[in-house]
């Protein structure tokens, strides 16, 4: 019988590995889309790798979350690190989903204009950064140390909003997504 702790390690490595590859590919795509370092001709390749790796990371993420909850000691989310981990993972998931949704709706035209290519590359890399920070919190929780400890991030503090504010943001964000489901009128 494989323990949830072992499964969590496997699923986390799949998630983090995929996201790390996506991060490198988004960097290359950003450079290529700006015509830097002579990489213009590799834009299609970097674009495909970045978005496919990001999509794979998103698919692997739910398994990492479920096994992580099963493997954590105690009941529920009873530690500030676990709450911060959940909030960061959600934000990373949302951002990565937004990046993929934009790419799916607009195709390769996301690399068309200067701000479009900047946001796409930065959005992809930011979601990767958030996932790596989430993984770092996991290391701090389970082993008491992580590579990002040198940054002295305030993992112990939980910035929790009132429930009504979360509800308002959910309503506004959902309405926004519905209104933005079609291309801009020109």
């Amino acid at each position: 019988m494989v323990s949830s702790g072992t499964l969590h390690v496997v699923s986390t490595e799949m998630t983090v590995g995929a996201f790390a590859m996506a991060g490198a590919a988004f960097l290359l795509a950003g450079l290529a889309s700006h015509g830097l370092a002579g990489m213009r001709r590799h834009l299609t390749l970097a674009d495909h790798v970045a978005h496919f790796a990001l999509a794979f990371g998103l698919l692997a993420m739910p398994m990492a979350i479920v096994t992580g909850i099963q493997a954590s000691p105690g009941e529920g989310v009873d530690h500030p690190l676990l709450i911060n981990k959940m909030l960061l993972a959600s934000t990373a998931f949302g951002l990565a989903f937004g990046v993929l949704l934009t790419r799916w709706r607009q195709g390769t035209a996301v690399w068309q204009d200067a701000w479009g290519r900047r946001w796409q590359a930065l959005g992809g890399m930011a979601s990767v950064g958030l996932i790596l920070t989430t993984a770092s919190i996991g290391g701090t929780f389970s082993r008491g140390e992580s590579l990002l400890d040198m940054l002295h991030l305030p993992y112990e503090h939980v910035p929790l909003m009132p429930f009504w504010l979360s509800g308002l943001i959910i309503a506004v964000a959902s309405a926004n997504l519905v209104l933005l489901r079609r291309p801009a009128q020109g």
């Binding site: 834009l43 530690h79 949302g94 934009t102 035209a109 008491g144 959910i170 926004n176």
Partner: protein
Amino acid sequence: MRRASVFGMMAVLLLASSHGAANPSGVGSGTFDAQCGGACHGDADMNRSSPATVSVEAPSVAYNGLLTSVSVTVADIQTTANGLLGVFLLSDLTGAGDTPADDGWAILSNSEGGTENYVEARISSGQTEHTVSWTLRAPSIGTYNLHAAVHHGTQDGSEAPFFGSTLSPTVVEVVEVPENLPRLAADFAPPTQVTVGEASEIDLQTEFVNSVTVEWRTVGGESKTVVVQPLGDETWSFTLPPSVQPVVLEWRAHLEGDGPSQTTPWFQVNSDDPSWSVDETTAYAQSLAMLLAATSLFVALQHRRTASELKAYEAELDDVGGEA
């Protein structure tokens, strides 16, 4: 030139790993085979011998299915700068399938407040000896070996991990329970955790017992007796006093009946500060809010191209790709 730079990069990455220390902050308590307590890469060929002396103290005879106490004492301790010492209770030293559970023992508690065979103790500066106790339920009838092992680092973290173990096993013979032996009920599980400032009321289930007395103590302190209330049907109740700070309390029961009188092993109860809590509904709602906010914010940022622009650029990029 490109090959040389790739080779150089690989060499730097490979050499960098030798400057890392494996889990200097420990891995926390867990159920681990020998040497796997956070150092699976530190096998016998890579470890150095610990100067610590490790010994196991256990009764020579235990009763099938009843509770017994085993303690491991580590002397001549050397640890890392943060004082972490990993202690294993094991059924053998092969490094695979060697936890007590692999021999049929069930761990109910340990003196560090957990239920695992591997614990990480924090040793104070200047402390040279430390004892960890386990309460176990004995396996089926037979003869069993119990080993103990330790692993740790050095003060400056500069050397290989150290591993030490008992020189010879402690042998425990598990025999059938005598008829009418006063004992705790087979399904009784002593509590292992209480909150600081709260008294802990314990209900004790017994078999073949006419009277019970209970004594408690802090580790190394003088023992005191508490009042035990009979609740009927071989169930008894007593209350351990609240502690004013995190501490390990120990208690044991003296059982009187028609058979020979019995004394249970010392059971450890870890009193700890109240656990951190949060309104989970609020946290989950914020989590969903941040997910949707991040998605919609990014989609809004990129929402500026018309349908005709999107089609035109697809065609243009296809041309660039075709030339490449």
